[in-house]
Amino acid sequence: MSVIRNIAIDEWRYWRRSRIAISVLLTGLVLLVGSAFLTAIQMIDASHEREHLQTEAENAFLNQPERHPHRMVHYGHYAFRTPPPLSVIDPGIDAYTGNSIFLEGHRQNSAMFADRQASAGIAMFGALSPALLLQILAPLLLILMGYSAITREREARTLDQMIAQGVTSVQIMLGKGLALGGVTALLVLPLCIASVLAASEGEAVSLIAFFISGYALYLLTWCAAIVLSSTIMRTAGGSLGALLAVWVIVAMLMPRVSSTVATNIVDAPGKIETDFAVIEAVSKIGDGHNAGDPAFTALRANLLQQYNVDSVEELPINFRGVVAGAAEAELTDTLNQFAEERMRVESKQVRIARYFGWLSPVLSIREFSMKLAGVDLETHHRFLRETEKLRFDFVQSLNKAHAEKMTYLDDAGRSGDPEAEKRTRISTENWKVLEAFSFEPFPATDRVEASFNPLAKIMLWLIAILLLCRTIGRRAL
């Protein structure tokens, strides 16, 4: 054991004397700490801003004056997606999806105001979050520090000496790996500090620990690959070349190739295009504003029979409100079918892109990270579904008030009779049907479960590389 430790300590000593190694490590750490700091500020600001807007929107709704409930259906409401605690490390797709949505009767709007749409659009890899740095730049940093770990000993002929002294090849590889593992620990440290913030914002500590372990495992996979390369390549140049080639392929190429392939395999028609089909389907449902629409004949007959009366005027409830509710329910059913279909297609695209995780640990760690942090596409879909539920609930509660809190005659005659119009304005108490909204990502256990798959891909890579070290690596030394 002490042999392994000594080899690792020697490597550290070498790094301390090497200007390149020191500057690479320092640059990396400065970048990580800086980005952790900036991302945290930005996401916490965004979080407060959106919480504030949410409260403001709720107050605006509650403070509306007395009026006809259907006016409130059209007045509508806003929902904002507050970023989850771990977004201080991985903001995920937050900047690429709209973070607010307008909820109103008869329509499902799309989310608006993706931050990227107001950005200067110069960053080619998105904002420098700690997650991005650890996923893409940290491996490069490890490569630059470790590519010559063993080739250097070989070129200086010290390797033979070590072996002559009885040090085994496994011990050499483990020692070099341990040295790189130390660098990994240093790189993960800023992540731990930023995580404290996430914990204080209410994220489960065990989930955070799992999150950090995932990153550590990912970086250790790279360490193993670096040791392997510097073992089997004859020269430092060869080792660096091979490692860089791998890095370019898995970190630069694969992410873009995966998304290009996914868009080409699964065609996702945009919202405007599917809206034509929606209009077509919806036109078969009656217009909820028009109680005389023939689409509601059966509903009318049923109600008359149920209450045993002859005309809608005699009903104890306002038929127009009943129609509004029934039409909204049917419409929402149709709209949801289309919305679910769109989400299904998007998920299918993303699933195809994620298959590339078998080829690139960078894609796997990204999936792992976004899933755990709750900033992936599925979480955005959850947001869309929850806001839709919020929309449907308040619209239907207002429609219920429309049916129960006024008479049919007043409602039908209100545009000609100011007195009737006054009676159709219901009290502001009724606006309290609006539920407070605060978006939460999936529960911690679900997120952990979902992240097993990408983690397994990384583990597989680690095991494969370790096996290669045992076989080819031992022979090469």
Partner: protein, 422 residues
């Protein structure tokens, strides 16, 4: 040795190096893939627009047919607006996966409609597309670094350095011809696929020449940088590390840092604020006296002063007037936001001079009309078109024109090239 002899020796030498050949084959392959991926994406966008145009015309005709007054027709008829991909956009898909390039709008308050975005899959947009611009700006420098960093160091290691220098006449000549052979083969390998794609999509010769200049400048910059670095007295790997560090800082860190700086330097009004304010204004109108709507409306449109009297509880002209007043109420905020985005873009243009990769990327997407500026131009066209719709309907509504279907023959049509020099 004569210059041609040196060149032909270098060419033969090069062809015997499997590594370098593979590198160029891979580069050509990636360039081809990037061009193919761009072409299919542009095809998809064009096909989408074709389909939308047909469906849009049909839907609008059906909507208008059902109505019996101009107000209702304006309410139910949507109009497709779009920004068609330019011939060159296959090479730089640019911001089109983030900024909307199609909207369907109607006569209601525009501020409530223009922020809807029919965006692509967010998780895929985060990765970005593999287009020629990405290949040229991000990957090409890496190829050059691998190809050129250890020319001298590797010959020294191989023990041929002195022999080569001695037989080539004088030293500089040799490295120059060796570099020219390697770099021009790489250049041809990556430019040819682009050229084929450009000819297939009918890009102007002039534009092709401009793209060639960008490719040339990018390759030249990195070549000189690599040459300068490889003449330093360090080992091959040390030179490569240094070059790579420069690449990381300029391609990765600088652009992202510039983005963050630009966003803090130039604040933009929150989109949410604009739309909340607009909605309050539009909804309030229902509870206010009619004059409260018509006065600010007439202030902007004095030509309708004599027809602005609203006598019934609901009149279409009042309805559309309060839609416009809603737009007017947030016009300043909305304008500020556009100005801010435009200024951010401009400032980012200056920052791009610190990053050859960002500069290459921006130049290409500028030439291809897929940059932020083009997205803003498109938004401007949508606004103009919406204004045209208003000037078509207002006379019909305010003069209480009798309904006749023939009036729609002069309904404005969206022209995607409106006010452009393209």
């Amino acid at each position: 040795m004569t210059a041609t002899a040196v060149f032909s020796r270098e060419l033969r030498f090069f062809l015997k190096q499997p590594f370098a050949i593979w590198l160029i084959i891979v580069a050509t392959g990636l360039s081809t893939f990037s061009v193919w991926s761009g072409l299919t994406e542009v095809d998809r966008q064009s096909a989408t627009i074709e389909r939308l145009l047909v469906a849009d015309a049909k839907d609008r005709a059906a909507a208008i047919e059902k109505e019996s007054d101009f107000g209702g027709a304006a309410y139910y008829s949507f109009h497709l607006t779009f920004d068609p991909p330019s011939a060159l956009s296959f090479a730089a898909l640019g911001e089109r996966d983030v900024f909307p390039w199609k909207h369907r709008i109607r006569m209601l308050a525009l501020e409530g409609q223009i922020y809807e975005s029919d965006a692509a899959n967010a998780e895929l947009a985060q990765s970005g597309q593999f287009d020629f611009a990405f290949f040229l700006s991000v990957l090409t420098p890496l190829f050059l670094i691998i190809l050129l960093h250890d020319q001298r160091a590797s010959e020294k290691v191989a023990g041929r350095h002195d022999l080569l220098v001695a037989t080539a006449g004088y030293g500089q000549n040799l490295w120059r011809s060796r570099t020219i052979v390697r770099v021009s083969l790489l250049g041809v390998g990556l430019f040819l696929p682009f050229l084929v794609g450009a000819l297939m999509s009918g890009v102007d010769t002039q534009l092709i020449a401009l793209v060639f200049l960008v490719v040339f400048a990018q390759i030249l910059f990195w070549t000189f940088l690599c040459l300068w670095a490889s003449a330093r007295p360090f080992s091959g790997p040390a030179i490569a590390s240094g070059l790579l560090a420069f690449w990381v800082l300029t391609t990765f860190v600088m652009p992202a840092a510039s983005d963050a700086i630009v966003e803090r330097a130039i604040p933009a009004p929150e989109g949410g604020d604009i739309i909340l304010a607009q909605r309050e204004k539009v909804n309030d109108a229902w509870d206010l006296r009619k004059e409260a709507t018509m006065e600010p409306f007439v202030a902007q449109h004095p030509e309708w002063a004599d027809d602005a009297k609203i006598e019934r509880p609901f009149e279409w002209k009042w309805y559309y007037a309060f839609q416009q007043v809603g737009d007017q109420a947030v016009a300043a905020m909305s304008n500020d936001r556009r100005v801010a985005v435009s200024r951010r873009n401009e400032m980012a243009g200056w920052f791009a001079f610190l990053s050859p990769s960002a500069l290459t990327q921006r130049s290409l997407s500028h030439l291809a009309n897929t940059d932020v500026g083009s997205a803003l131009t498109y938004q401007h066209r949508v606004r103009n078109f919406h204004a045209e719709l208003r000037s078509f309907y207002y006379p019909l509504l305010f003069k209480n024109a009798a309904y006749r279907a023939e009036a729609f023959e002069s309904l404005p049509e969206y022209d995607p090239a409106m006010g452009s020099d393209r």
